[in-house]
């Protein structure tokens, strides 16, 4: 292997690793705030990418129907939870969240053709369609069982993932799609062949990490999320609403996952079930970070990407094995280093 091959593999690994890093961040975010291992996060990658592809083709994606239906269900559940303290303001907020928002998005998608016009508009439209689904799923699926054990939440997550994969097949069909790149720039640096999209992937990842850092460190909402992550009961005692934090965490994480799907979809073909494998690699990184540390998870994700690139060169038949084996030494090390803590229940 010469130096140019080394550089090309490194570049490939870093770009893929940046995608895994985004998913690892989303997983850590949701887990720390709600104790949910959010398995369906990968499905948002597929939903985001394929929704964008449908918009590009001038079709209304099936996800807008899902948005509408889940919005309605979520409204009913919100009313049920709020039944003892309904005020005009509260009713307006619930209706705004679950009825007005999806209706506006639905009508916008059905009325305007997105096939023409800027790619950035389509990206925003795809985000507007897919991100609220995360919010509604929290409300419908997780909020009623927020106090269940981590294991129950995990099982529910797996079930939700299976449901979302099935719906993905119905909405988008068995064959995959790619999308137009955000930028058609190409640079040649010696042996390296940099595309604008690859640069965008890494830049967006870095920007999101910086943005999350500022959000958690400087804003009241961010601090509330962190407080909930550190001590759920304590946070509640000082007036932080766990439901609000859960919703916020889900909106952030699904927006990140959707965005990473949109980014990756111009690098490769995305299928209705591709997201799960991508998320699984993000999960490996999140585990390395102990499902709590953002910086370690992000670095581990880049490492996963690089290891993947090099193992696909040296031993392509064992690539997945090598990546998922990475988790074993980490778990061993963690179980030796950290004292055993009983589950909080």
């Amino acid at each position: 292997m010469d130096f140019s091959i080394f550089l090309i593999l490194l570049q490939d690994g870093v770009v893929n690793g940046a995608i895994y890093a985004l998913l690892a961040l989303g997983l850590v975010l949701i887990f720390t705030v709600t104790r949910i291992v959010f398995v369906p996060i990968g499905d948002f990658v597929s939903y985001g990418a394929l929704t964008l592809a449908a918009l590009e083709a001038g079709r209304a994606p099936g996800t807008v129907w899902l948005l509408l239906i889940l919005g309605g269900l979520s409204t009913l559940i919100s009313f049920w939870f709020a039944r003892n303290g309904l005020t005009a303001a509260r009713v307006a907020r619930i209706l705004g969240e679950g009825v007005v928002l999806p209706l506006v998005v639905f009508l916008a998608i059905r009325t305007f053709s997105f096939a023409e016009g800027s790619q950035y508009v389509r990206v925003l439209a795809a985000l507007a369609v897919v991100t609220p689904i995360g919010l509604y799923l929290y409300n419908i699926v997780y909020r009623p069982i927020a106090h269940a054990s981590v294991l129950v939440l995990l099982v529910v997550s797996v079930a939700l993932h299976l449901a979302m994969v099935g719906l993905g097949l119905v909405f988008f069909g068995a064959e995959g799609s790619g999308t137009q790149p955000l930028s058609t720039l190409t640079l040649e640096l010696g042996p390296l062949f940099l595309t604008g999209q690859a640069i965008a992937v890494v830049a967006v990842t870095l920007a999101l990490i910086a943005g999350l850092f500022v959000f958690f460190d400087r804003t009241l909402m961010g601090k509330a999320l962190r407080a909930t992550a550190v001590n759920r009961l304590g946070a509640r005692l000082v007036g932080v609403s766990p439901v609000l934090c859960g919703k916020l965490g889900f909106v952030l994480a699904t927006a990140i996952a959707t965005l990473s799907g949109i980014l990756v979809s111009s690098l490769t073909t995305i299928y209705y079930d591709t997201g799960f494998i991508i998320a699984l690699k993000g999960f490996v990184a999140a585990i390395v970070g102990g499902l709590v540390s953002y910086p370690i998870s992000a670095l581990a994700a880049v490492l996963v990407g690089v290891v993947e690139a090099f193992s696909s060169f040296y031993a392509s038949a064992f690539k997945e094995v090598i990546i998922f084996m990475m988790i074993i030494p980490v778990l061993l090390w963690r179980s030796f280093r950290t004292p055993v803590v009983e589950d909080e229940e």
């Binding site: 995608i19 097949l169 073909t269 991508i278 038949a317 690539k319």
Partner: protein, 381 residues
């Protein structure tokens, strides 16, 4: 349990004697799961088949197996036990079809698989005596590729294959054929259907400077290696398997897949077939009826395997009906014998002549070599 089944079957027989002339065909199709891109056109094609042949009504009952072997077996048992079907079509994918072989033998029901692997019907013995198949054997297709490579003076080839049984099968079939022609495999890499990058594998392949690259993948995931080759500015020939022959491959691949060479079933280039090709008429008719129902450009080779299974049954049912009543074990056995005795049946994928040792019955007329030109299939002489 067995007694219960027998009782149920007995009651069913008492209730429905009037429909005895109806021939029931069960189908186990992978309409969801990884095989969905095969299963969906197959199920669509089954729904277009004629429901009457030679005075016998034919009823099709289609079940989904989710591309899963266990569910395929369950569905097949259900079809035979509850619906008392006379024959089964399915499944779309090789693992599920292999699982159904034992059931076909045990329940003694003739079964026509739509999957690719030759292992489903060869050797014809034991349970496989009940199995037939319409999709071309990988070996037939691989032979066409090896011939084409030899004719174009390819001496070295780099392979990138799916890291699943599809890739394994193809590699084991094509390797001896290439060796026979004196073509050397200089790189053999693997990738997964859901991979987002094959940069590493393609670096490995191109750095060994092969005359041709052979991508072994099915459906749109086979686009990725070819895109990587274009990025690496690879100038040699690129071969694909017949697993890519659908319009989605063209849609996703775009300009990147231009120039790819592959063996396919005749239906893919139905209009371009020479007039003396035996399947021209059948292929054009099938293509027109499918596209009338599902839109222009929607036809794929996969659906034609289901259509051909229907043609085989339409030819065999009248023969079997002379010696037994539909709905009985005797009819199923007669139908199996009739299928085995079919000779010179022209269907979409060539001409089939079955025998007690050959339950596919295809020859070179079942495949043509095509290339992709300007986003469309073009027949190569």
């Amino acid at each position: 349990m067995k007694a219960l089944f027998a009782a149920l079957l007995g009651t069913a027989a008492l209730v429905v004697p009037a429909t005895a002339q109806t021939v029931k065909i069960g189908a186990v199709i992978s309409e969801t799961g990884p095989g969905a891109s095969l299963g969906i056109p197959e199920a669509n094609s089954l729904r277009l088949l004629p429901t009457e042949v030679d005075g016998h009504d034919i009823q099709y009952i289609i079940l989904d197996d989710g591309s899963d072997a266990t569910r395929a077996v369950t569905a097949m048992r259900k079809l035979v036990a509850e619906d008392r079907v006379d024959a089964v079509i399915g499944s779309s994918v090789t693992p599920a079809s292999l699982a159904m072989v034992e059931v076909a033998g045990e329940l003694q029901v003739p079964t026509i698989s739509l999957a690719g692997s030759a292992a489903i019907v060869t050797p014809v013995e034991g349970a496989r005596e009940w199995m037939f198949k319409t999709a071309q054997n990988d070996a037939l297709m691989a032979g066409a590729i090896a011939d084409h490579m030899a004719a174009n003076e390819v001496e070295t080839v780099g392979i990138i294959a799916f890291s699943d049984s599809y890739g394994d099968n193809w590699i084991s079939v094509v390797t001896p054929l290439l060796e026979e022609k004196g073509i050397e495999i200089v790189a053999s890499e693997r990738y997964a259907r859901t991979d987002t990058s094959v940069t590493g594998q393609m670096l490995r392949v191109t750095s060994s400077r092969p005359d041709a690259v052979f991508v072994i993948g099915a459906g749109t995931p086979a686009v990725l290696p070819q895109q990587a080759l274009v990025q690496r500015n690879y100038q040699g020939l690129v071969y694909q398997t017949h697993g890519v022959a659908n319009s989605d491959f063209l849609r996703v691949g775009g300009a990147a897949v231009n120039g790819a060479i592959m063996p396919v079933g005749p239906v893919v280039v139905a209009e371009q077939l020479p007039d003396d090709h035996p399947s021209k008429e059948a292929a054009v008719a099938y293509k027109e009826s499918y596209e009338a129902a599902h839109g222009a450009g929607s036809v794929s080779a996969f659906g034609s395997y289901a259509h051909d299974a229907g043609i085989l049954l339409q030819n065999a049912i009248p023969v079997a009906a002379r010696s037994a009543e539909p709905g009985t074990p005797e009819f199923r056995a007669a139908l199996r014998d009739a299928l085995e005795g079919l000779s010179d049946v022209t269907y979409v994928n060539g001409v089939a002549t079955m025998s007690p040792t050959d339950h596919i019955g295809q020859d070179e007329r079942a495949r043509v070599i095509v290339t992709i030109e300007d986003g469309g299939w073009k027949l190569l002489p």
